[in-house]
Amino acid sequence: MKLTVNGAVHDVDVEPDTPLLFVLRDTLGLTGTKYGCGVAMCGACTVLVDGVATRSCQTPVDSVGDAEIATIEAIESDPVGARVVEAWVGIEVPQCGYCQSGQVMAATALLKETPAPSDDDIAAAMTNLCRCGTYNAVADAIRKAAA
């Protein structure tokens, strides 16, 4: 099966219903994308599939087809993603950091779609869980990246 990840095409030998998450992490070694719950509740596994924030733990790899997958490892090659990362670093959003790959991906998708998001836009798009409680810092960083 062929998979386009961060601009490169990979040939992967896995069962077609394998979640994209584990193909990224264990087959391709892209461990920046995190496993948190496996049931699309926490958002730690968020990647972009053709620019759309997608929870890869509930995305069978054979459903992706030839769509472009972007992971956190390539986020700074995207101009919006690079701005998001700078805002994250400047505001010092992460604590343990485990959810932050997913938060950065979700924020990047939001700002690509809605360059100047309202508080309601942020609330609707940023549903990823953070056990360290960085929710306010995440919102601050999105506003900073949008400015």
């Binding site: 461990t31 948190g36 049931v39 343990c96 609330a123």
Partner: protein
């Protein structure tokens, strides 16, 4: 029957050597640990903790500094804090530092002869020692430079990684000097820097781990691999303590794609495979026959064990109680009171729900040495435990401690609550490195839980409306008693109920031990996470009985306590002046509650504003005035307080781990609710540096939150929450 118990002050306990611990006023682990353990650690040949500079510092030729920290980074910012402290005395900017958690060893046993990252101990136990490490290293570099340049050391100065001889205009980089300098004997008496000249300590020095954690580059235990490694997944027995007897479809499981082997373990079935997903699919396809649990009772996770049954047992318990604290004559005062106020409080079991599922990567070298990479907050304790499992000497177990994807108390040694014993057995059985990852479902089945607890209060107010007596009876079990053999009264079960600062003349606090049949845990702020909710809520009940405003009553009860009185006034000021309400804001009715806490050597005063929306409590703002004595990084401290507020609110509003029919009810985040963005309030933190001995930071922000919110709910609705979470109450 009541037996009197007083904590002993054994001078050999290790505490006496650390007066700063003794003066925190908090219950400390060091107080409770058996002296023999401490003495055993102080073997004559071992270096005293914090005295061997090379155990902590490596300075590379390019001037980069590798710091081996006694503490593990799990979000609390300790890696940056340690770098700031050492950098200040070493005179090399924190940005030059890479920080790793040190391997097991006697150099790092900073906490009463032990080491762990917990109890909010890290900075306060290491601050002086780590300054001294930095200062001694700088002195070694200067001595080397003096010899090389042929000048007296007194003519040398340093500046951010260089030794400078101003008179001759010459300078040498630390990286050029380090190879030789690090062979010298450290002079631990070298003078420390004048705090008035600090450049990094006490400042908002940028965190070192932000870019790696914002770009996916940070590596957690779950991300690690080894050549030729197998992935493993497990399914645990449905009841704690039961075992797999057989697998009916063993051949079919073994024939599944990528499967290497199937293993029956103690309390679990495991599959090793060439990917974790294949291992998981195979192990979950196994048709396992399990042994039966006990049919009934609370001595084990029996077939009818439940949270509700355990709570009923705690409430109904009539065994011997131990006196944890007695001041004045509470029984007499209560007997003579015109009115006695009584209330039962309880709080549920809780998961840690750190977002990184637990894992363990085990690898045996050809000589039988074991390497273990695992999330842990106590390397020496895991080393000892792993050695037992592997059947080898502890010195042959190498513990690697990557950064933690959250911990909150999750990563201590918890018997069946950790994956490492399984990983060791699988690595042994397969002869290959094995990375075992627990799925979220297995984690929520096996995570050690914050114990459920129940406290019954009795209290009375005098003719002036002020409390004259308070009595508490707490029944249950704390993690300190279970894992560290604490004395008859488990401090982790009663902290937050004893040693309260309020001038209530008659007090009696009692503890009755009734063990839990499940794996219990330390959970951020431990006993304080529920006991301060119990006590500060009941204090509001006494205020109401006496017709007092709860804020004014606390001020009156603290009239002679300048530090806490100031903190109350600071939180009132921060929140725009105390007002209880109810009052109207933005078209809805809101009210506020106040609570104080004295956890882990620090002091907090907390105010929360709430309303009820769509039948649920909505928390709008939380204000915290926080006095840890002094701080190393105010920005990190504020972030930690906000984080603690979030976790405190999570357990206040929505969270509980429920046992029904002997098993955990909730297997994943779809039904185990934690605080999400929609429930996150604005959080306002004011740091008050009173100059008191340094207290903890990571946990103290939490305990004031549940009672501040509950007191606000009572003010708003007239209904008094006496159990958590508040989602169990219905509001029309």
């Amino acid at each position: 029957m009541i037996r009197t118990f007083r904590p002993s002050s054994d001078p050999s306990s290790g505490l006496s050597r650390r007066a700063f611990l003794a003066t925190t006023g908090a219950l400390t682990l060091a107080v409770s640990l058996p002296a023999s353990r401490v003495l055993a650690q102080a073997a004559a040949s071992a270096p005293a903790p914090g005295t061997r500079v090379t155990a902590f510092l490596e300075i590379r030729p390019d001037g980069a500094v590798r710091l081996l920290s006694p503490f593990v980074e799990g979000g609390q910012g300790i890696a940056t804090g340690m770098a700031q402290i050492v950098a200040e005395e070493l005179d090399a900017a924190p940005a030059r530092f890479e920080v790793e958690c040190a391997p097991p060893g006697p150099d790092y046993l900073f906490i009463g002869g032990l080491r762990f990252t917990g109890g909010s101990f890290s900075t306060r136990t290491s601050y002086e020692l780590m300054r001294r490490v930095g200062a001694a290293a700088r002195d070694m570099l200067m001595r080397t430079a003096a010899a090389r340049l042929g000048v007296p050391k007194t003519e040398l100065t340093t500046d951010d990684g260089r030794v400078i001889h101003a008179a001759s205009g010459r300078a040498l980089g630390y990286g050029e000097l380090a190879g030789e300098a690090m062979t010298l004997d450290p002079d631990l008496e070298v003078p420390l820097r004048d705090p008035a000249t600090f450049r990094w300590i006490g400042k908002e020095t940028p965190r070192l781990d932000m870019r790696a954690k914002s770009t996916g580059a940070a590596k957690y235990a779950i991300d690690l691999t080894q050549p030729d490694m197998l992935f493993a997944a497990v399914v645990h027995a449905p009841f704690l303590g039961t075992k797999p007897l057989s697998v009916g479809n063993e051949a079919a499981v073994k024939a599944m794609p990528g499967v290497h082997s199937l293993h029956l373990l103690d309390g679990a079935v495991a599959v090793c495979a060439d990917s974790w997903w294949r291992a998981r699919m195979a192990v979950e396809a196994a048709e396992v026959a399990w042994s039966d649990p006990a049919p009934t009772g609370i001595d084990s996770a029996s077939a009818d064990f439940s949270s509700a049954g355990m709570l009923a047992a705690l409430r109904a318990w009539d065994g011997e109680v131990l006196e944890a604290e007695a001041i004045g004559d509470a029984p007499g005062a209560l007997a003579g009171a015109a009115q006695v106020i009584e209330a039962d409080y309880d709080a549920p079991y809780l998961n840690h729900a750190q977002l990184e599922p637990p894992s363990a990567l085990a690898k045996f070298d050809p000589d039988g040495t074991l390497h273990l990479w695992l999330p842990n907050q106590a390397p020496e304790m895991f080393q000892a435990a792993a050695a037992k499992v592997a059947g080898i000497e502890p010195a042959r177990v190498h513990i690697h401690s990557p950064i933690l994807g959250g911990f909150f108390g999750r990563h201590f040694v918890y018997g069946p609550g950790n994956p490492y014993p399984q990983a060791i057995q699988l690595a042994k059985a397969t002869g290959r490195p094995v990375k075992l990852v627990w799925s979220r479902e297995e984690e929520f089945a096996m995570d050690a839980v914050r114990p459920l607890s129940a406290t019954r209060f009795r209290g009375a107010v005098g003719p002036d409306g002020m409390p004259v007596a308070i009595e508490a009876r707490t029944v249950g079990e704390g993690p300190m008693g279970r894992y560290f053999g604490a004395g008859p009264v488990d401090p982790s079960a009663v902290e937050g109920i004893v040693e309260k600062p309020y001038a209530i003349p008659n007090r009696r606090m009692m503890f009755g031990k009734l063990p839990h049949p499940v794996t219990i845990a330390f959970w951020r702020s431990v006993g304080h996470s529920m006991n301060d909710f119990f006590y500060e809520s009941f204090l509001d009940e006494l205020a109401e009985a006496g017709g007092q405003d709860p804020f004014a009553m606390r001020r009156a009860l603290l009239a002679k306590d300048a530090r806490r009185l100031r903190l109350l006034d600071e939180v009132a000021d921060l929140s725009g002046g105390w007002k209880r309400g109810p009052y109207e804001v933005e078209g809805e009715t809101r009210a506020r509650g106040v609570a104080m806490a004295s956890p882990f050597g620090s002091e907090t005063a907390t105010v929360a504003e709430v309303s009820v929306r769509d039948g649920e409590v909505k928390v709008h703002d939380v204000w915290v005035a926080f006095d840890p004595g002094s701080v190393v990084n105010p920005k990190i401290v504020r972030a930690q307080v906000e984080s603690a507020v979030a976790l405190g609110l999570s357990q206040t509003l929505v969270e509980q781990a429920v046992y029904e029919d002997g098993r955990r009810r909730d297997a994943n985040f779809d039904t185990y609710a934690i605080l999400d963005r929609s429930r996150m309030p604005r959080v306002h933190v004011r740091i008050v540096e009173s100059g008191a001995p340094m207290g903890g930071v990571g946990e103290p922000g939490l305990p004031g939150v549940p009672p501040a919110v509950a007191n606000a709910v009572a003010a708003l609705t007239g209904r008094r929450p006496r159990a958590l979470p508040l989602s169990s109450m219905t509001f029309s």
